[in-house]
Point group: C2
Chain length 219, copies 2
DNA sequence: CGGCGGGTCAATCAAAAGGTTGACCCCGGG
DNA sequence: CCCGGGGTCAACCTTTTGATTGACCCGCCG
């Protein structure tokens, strides 16, 4: 049985070094390569493919300052011929992040502050084709299928995120290429589901329930 | 010349491992210990002091989920008898983070996405008693001393906090026993100082600059 | 003492946001 | 095949917010 070959994708050299050090200490895991952003990850994948060296798991951060971000990179990887499973390893456990990652085709969602042993298990599980979710991610998805009426749709979450950045209805409309009327419609739905009646209260509620990340907590 | 002895403080095992791996590769640096939060850092410092093993530089993250955060830890360390220099190594370069760190007595402010070589130089500089700032940190402090007139008054901060909870102008007025007109006046001033033109953008800006805590985050 | 900054309030107008109703399209499942 | 949910848009009206102007009080400081 050969090692599980991992591709690390994270924009922080420190984190890459940390994962490399941590994972190589485990039996049965080796680091195939690392990349600082999504584009570099795709390059590494094709480079390794040419060499005949497969990658068994991609370990991907979601927040990446420059270049292609984690969601886009995950989606791109899943479109390859024989895509390796993508395990998201990130800092935040907000609904928005989790949903985006799952929709993009991630096969797992773990948090960076997880103990090393959990990360090790997650890597093996992902390599075996299993889905592995952090507790909060699992709970969110369960809740989503049991009572879909009260939870926000992906579109609504998207607008909520833009809302939280301080954009006006008109600005949001332009951003997502819909009319201002539609933005209002969505917002009314959002207010109803969150039990509020204005945008600032919606931001507060959504932040509190960890539907969105606090404003301005980017990379 | 003995090695520069470093104490790592970061709540993520991955990051601690990364810094450890990265720094130990450099000549002249060794890791004295690491800690997951502020309290543990102080414990480590006193433990090492008892052993007669000094610490030359504390490498500190600002954001730490549980326990004492980076700012408080920095302040506490600076109150020790022979405090080692504290070099902040964090993810965000927001105004309030930088200001809080400098006010707490940090002798440097670096970003985690800095290349390893820069981090190495910063550690040596800090150990030598020098001050080392990331470009944005330096720029902010320069700007702050040249035009100090742009900061919010305590009253304005108070209204901003209420604003962030989702209250309407009228509700804010009742809360602090002033008229709605006065609330509007304050908001106009706040918008001017923050460079925004509506309440949601004010919340985003204030959160980003850590003037207020993200909505629904316990203090 | 005289000003100045912070806090208070009012009136007014313009702009944005909120609420309602109704409509159309598309897709997936009973 | 029809229904329902999600997404889109429009028209309309009410309420809230934002912007401007001007005013008063108070405490501090030169």
């Amino acid at each position: 049985m050969t090692d599980v070959r991992v591709l690390l994708v994270d924009d922080h050299p420190v984190v890459r070094a940390g994962l490399r050090a941590m994972l190589t200490e485990f039996e049965g895991i080796s680091i195939a390569a690392d990349a600082a952003d999504g584009k570099a990850a795709l390059r590494e994948l094709s480079r390794l493919a040419v060499l005949g060296e497969g990658v068994d798991v991609v370990l991907m951060d979601l927040q990446m300052g420059a270049g292609m971000d984690g969601v886009a990179a995950t989606a791109a990887i899943r479109k390859l011929a024989a895509p390796p499973p993508v395990l998201i390893l990130t800092t935040y456990d907000t609904d928005a992040d989790i949903l985006a990652a799952v929709e993009a085709g991630a096969s797992g969602y773990m948090l960076k502050d997880a103990p090393p042993e959990q990360i090790r298990q997650a890597v093996f599980a992902a390599a075996a084709g299993e889905t592995v979710l952090a507790p909060k991610a699992a709970a969110l998805l369960m809740n989503r299928i049991t009572n879909p009426g009260t939870s926000l749709t992906p579109r609504e979450v998207q607008l909520l995120e833009l809302l939280a950045t301080g954009l006006s209805n008109r600005a949001i409309a332009k951003q997502v290429f819909i009319s201002e009327a539609t933005v209002k419609t969505h917002l009314v739905h959002i207010y109803g589901k969150l039990g509020v009646d204005n945008r600032t209260a919606a931001i507060a509620a959504a932040t509190q329930r960890r539907i969105i990340r606090p404003p301005g907590q980017a990379s």
